[in-house]
């Protein structure tokens, strides 16, 4: 069974204090790993898709990396507007209908 574990559950940062979020996964044949950002009371917003180990993608202050067992979301010099819950999800090759399995998320709070 596919499993995704995110850590830490919550992260409090000072503005400008860089940090990393972890997403560990177990899947039988990874098609893709996805990162989303979710603001309170809203639907998740797509950030990145990573397909193979060693791949990296960047967007503003966010950088996602992938290994064979985990993915990291690095937040460089965060600003208060980066406060959100970050969700990680995996999709196996055998996924019927492109199903995603999500982790529990990491709540990030960036204080000014």
């Amino acid at each position: 069974e596919d499993q995704v574990t995110q850590s830490p559950e919550a992260l409090r940062l000072q503005e400008g204090e860089s940090s990393s979020l972890n997403c560990s996964y177990t899947v039988s044949g990874l098609r893709g790993l996805f990162w989303y950002r979710q603001d309170p009371g809203k639907g998740p917003e797509f950030l990145f898709t990573l397909y193979s180990a060693g791949e990296e993608k960047e967007k503003e202050r966010l950088k996602a990396t992938l290994t064979k067992k985990e993915s990291f979301l690095h937040i460089t010099a965060p600003k208060p507007e980066d406060s959100a819950t970050y969700l990680c999800a995996v999709q196996p090759f055998k996924a019927a209908g492109n199903k995603l399995t999500f982790g529990g998320g990491t709540r990030v709070l960036v204080k000014p």
Binding site: F34, N98, F102, G104, G105, R107
Partner: protein, 112 residues
């Protein structure tokens, strides 16, 4: 561009009452459609997905059901709500060979 709509945005219903949540997608054809539920502070749990009109797959046994009467319309229903049905319901879509899922704004359901 594609957009996804959900309504209502919020709903408060008594135990035992029926439920109907609607999701529509604009700007694409023959999308895969998904219903997720998110409990407070938790990750997303896939409830149903559909790869075409009238084709529904259920992921979790429960008192909910889903229907897809039109290509870009997905409906989540229940005949009798339970307290445990409370949560944040999210609809999502993707294309057959394009694996990134895009989410709607969600419906906050409170069963009292």
């Amino acid at each position: 561009s594609q957009t996804i709509h959900q309504w209502p945005a919020t709903l408060v219903q008594p135990v035992g009452s029926p439920l109907s949540l609607e999701c529509t997608v604009e700007g694409t054809s023959n999308p895969n459609l998904y219903w997720y539920r998110q409990a407070a502070g938790r990750g997303l749990q896939l409830l149903f997905y559909s790869v075409g009109i009238g084709q529904i797959s259920s992921e979790v046994p429960q008192n909910l059901s889903a229907s897809r009467p039109q290509d870009r319309q997905f409906i989540l229903s229940s005949k009798k709500l339970l307290l445990s049905d409370s949560g944040f319901y999210l609809c999502a879509w993707d294309r057959v060979n394009w694996y990134e899922q895009y989410f709607g704004p969600g419906t906050r359901l409170t069963v009292t």
